[in-house]
């Protein structure tokens, strides 16, 4: 069965969580994304793979609303709402989570304080009751335990003095506490040793592998996909999705590299 057909069928079902159509974007006046079309349904895990410079991180940043990443054409809707009409913090409140390749360090602000502020800001924006300190600490400890992160780390300043692996695990704890509908994880696997990679994979599966949630994994390597099995793999090259397939496509890329795809594009 053709994956395009599968995609079409899913779209016709009218159950799309994220729908990107003909997305063009530029950074510093330079066109990076040149017409991405992609839709993600609840319950699905999609992986975007591609060579360096293909526009992988740009895709994540454009969807997250990072200043300086300008949409020049196309559209994206999230649960039927125009994503680009929302400010970055509004996108988060709507259920979008962006996992960073390089999580930022915030000295002097503990993880607990930071996450409680974040979660309660989102709850407030959605018209939900804010969590008390006690309720929040319970939730945070539960999520840290589930990911094998020392709960003491929650008292430490956000990402300060954390190793690369600890920062990424911390991103997973944040994701667990925030419990988003859609997680866009930008090279979450980069720079991780095998234990941290397993922990991150476990985190993604535990938190996001649910019928009402979805994931867009952005990665350069196939490694993480050994732990998080994607439903769809998309190959991004020169700002466009050039191939879409199932998990086997990731293995093919791992074996043969991106050379063939970039050669085809050049031809």
């Amino acid at each position: 069965m053709c994956f395009d057909c599968a995609q079409h069928e899913r779209i016709w079902n009218g159950n799309v969580m994220l729908k990107i159509e003909n997305l063009h974007a530029e950074v510093d006046g330079k066109a990076i994304l040149k017409g991405i079309t992609l839709s993600i349904n609840p319950g699905e895990i999609h992986a975007i793979m591609g060579p360096n410079g293909a526009g992988k991180s740009t895709t994540a940043y454009v969807l997250g609303g990072r200043p300086g990443y300008d949409v020049t054409e196309g559209s994206a809707t999230f649960d039927g709402k125009d994503l680009f009409e929302m400010e970055p913090h509004e996108r988060a409140a709507a259920g979008l989570f962006l996992g960073f390749q390089y999580p930022v360090e915030i000295p002097g602000v503990s993880n607990l304080q930071f996450l409680r502020t974040a979660l309660n800001a989102q709850r407030k924006a959605r018209g939900e009751a804010e969590l008390s300190g006690g309720e929040f600490i319970k939730l945070a400890r539960k999520e840290a335990d589930a990911l094998g992160l020392d709960p003491e780390m929650l008292k430490r300043p956000v990402n300060v003095g954390f190793s690369g692996g600890e920062k990424k695990r911390n991103e997973m704890v944040q994701m667990g506490i925030i419990a988003p509908k859609l997680a866009i994880l930008d090279e979450t696997d980069s720079g991780l040793d095998i234990d941290a990679l397993k922990a991150v994979g476990h985190g993604i599966n535990t938190i996001m592998r649910r019928p009402d949630r979805a994931v867009l994994l952005i990665t350069h390597y196939q490694r993480l996909l050994d732990y998080v099995k994607p439903d769809f793999v998309h190959v991004l090259a020169a700002g466009r999705i050039v191939r879409t397939g199932g998990p086997e496509l990731a293995h093919e890329l791992e074996r043969e590299g991106y050379g063939q795809i970039t050669d085809e594009l050049a031809a």
């Binding site: 997250g64 609303g65 990072r66 200043p67 300086g68 400010e87 970055p88 913090h89 996108r91 988060a92 409140a93 989570f97 962006l98 960073f100 999580p103 930022v104 915030i106 000295p107 002097g108 602000v109 304080q113 930071f114 996450l115 502020t117 974040a118 979660l119 800001a121 989102q122 924006a125 300043p157 944040q174 925030i178």
Partner: protein, 362 residues
């Protein structure tokens, strides 16, 4: 009082301060309006003293070893410090003595000008911690002499929270052999301020630290000018200042390290950082080194910038709206300066004060 007697922007050491409003403020009269100080006492055991318009309020104080009366602040040459006069409070601790908990002093001003001197002397191995809070209106002017004998330890934390008027403070310190002095200042009110310090390391292996956070908005001017003089060998000094300026505020810090010819193996470090919250604000930073010894280590850094856009986006991506995100990152920026305060309860109180200035939700 006359403007002629005050230094002006023509004096290098005062170029960023604006004292032109002082005579008018000093001409005002204190209103004597009552004010609750409950929110200013930090919940720790220890002596408490309350001064209202520079007058000791015995009924609301528990002075412990602190004496109120004649005091020599040793500020003879300082333009504002010399106005502090010769009455105020003294703390003298004998050998091995220590105060039970920090000495808390609250200064309320209700207008006009008030001046006080302080004289703190710690004998060998004595230990003390002093926490001062300045609130109200008008000009509050203070000068303090700090003398630390061998192995004495003193921690001073001050927060300047005036709603209007002017706040000035001048320290003169002598730090003996292996003694340790830390002065941390937080300026987080609505009034202008000028903080001065002249700390001299007189004994070997002594430690001196001066630093703090200056938070300015509207048209406030905050200026901190500290000098650490190493007159003896093997001394260590740290100067860590964080200057934040929003709207049309000007926050300035000059920090100087002087190393005398004989003060070999001195280890001095300066970290001055400025944060501009608006393009109309200004931050001045002036690190200075004057080194006459040849075997010393003196590091200095001075940077001014805006909030990191990458960090702002990180917070936004977690759902934190822009105003709160800016407050959190500004808090993070000044956190270093307040982290020097040793007692948890005092540090937390100062952090809460800074957060309230930043409009941060706890």
């Amino acid at each position: 009082m006359s403007l002629l007697a005050l230094p002006s922007a023509r004096d290098e050491a005062w170029r960023w301060s604006d004292l032109s409003g002082l005579p008018a403020i000093a001409d005002g009269q204190p209103t004597g309006a009552p004010r609750s100080v409950d929110d200013l006492w930090i919940d720790t055991p220890g002596p408490r003293l309350l001064f209202v318009d520079g007058v000791y309020d015995a009924s609301r104080s528990a002075p412990g070893p602190v004496r109120v009366g004649a005091a020599d602040a040793n500020a003879g040459r300082h333009a504002l410090g010399k106005l502090a006069g010769s009455t105020g409070w003294t703390l003298t601790l004998g050998r091995d003595a220590a105060t039970e908990g920090p000495v808390q002093i609250v200064h309320i001003s209700t207008g006009g000008a008030n001046h006080l001197a302080a004289d703190i002397r710690l004998d060998e191995d004595a230990q003390a911690s002093i926490v001062e809070s300045f609130v109200g209106e008008g000009w509050v002017n203070r000068a303090a002499s700090l003398r630390l004998a061998r192995s004495a330890r003193l921690m001073v934390a001050r927060r300047f929270l005036h709603e209007s008027g002017f706040q000035s403070h001048a320290d003169t310190a002598e730090i003996g052999q292996a003694a340790s002095l830390t002065i941390a200042s937080l300026v987080a009110g609505q009034a202008d301020s000028r903080l001065d310090g002249h700390l001299t390391i007189t004994g070997i292996e002594a430690f001196a630290e001066a630093g703090g956070a200056l938070l300015g908005r509207k048209k406030q001017r905050h200026d901190a000018a500290f000098v650490v003089r190493h007159a003896a060998a093997h001394g260590q000094s740290r100067q860590l200042w964080r200057a934040v300026a929003d709207e049309q505020a000007v926050t300035s810090t000059s920090a100087r390290v002087e190393v005398a010819r004989d003060a070999q193996k001195t280890d001095g470090e300066q970290s001055l950082r400025g944060l501009l919250m608006a393009r109309t604000a200004a931050v001045n930073l002036k690190p200075e080194l004057e080194i006459f010894a040849d075997d010393v280590k003196c590091g200095h850094g001075a940077t001014v910038g805006e909030l990191d856009r990458n960090s702002l986006f990180y917070l936004a991506s977690r759902g934190i709206p822009p105003v709160e995100a800016r407050a959190i990152l500004t808090h993070a920026f000044v956190a270093d300066a307040l982290a020097r305060i040793g007692e948890d309860a005092v540090r937390e109180a100062f952090e809460a004060t800074a957060n309230s200035w930043l409009g941060m939700i706890a």
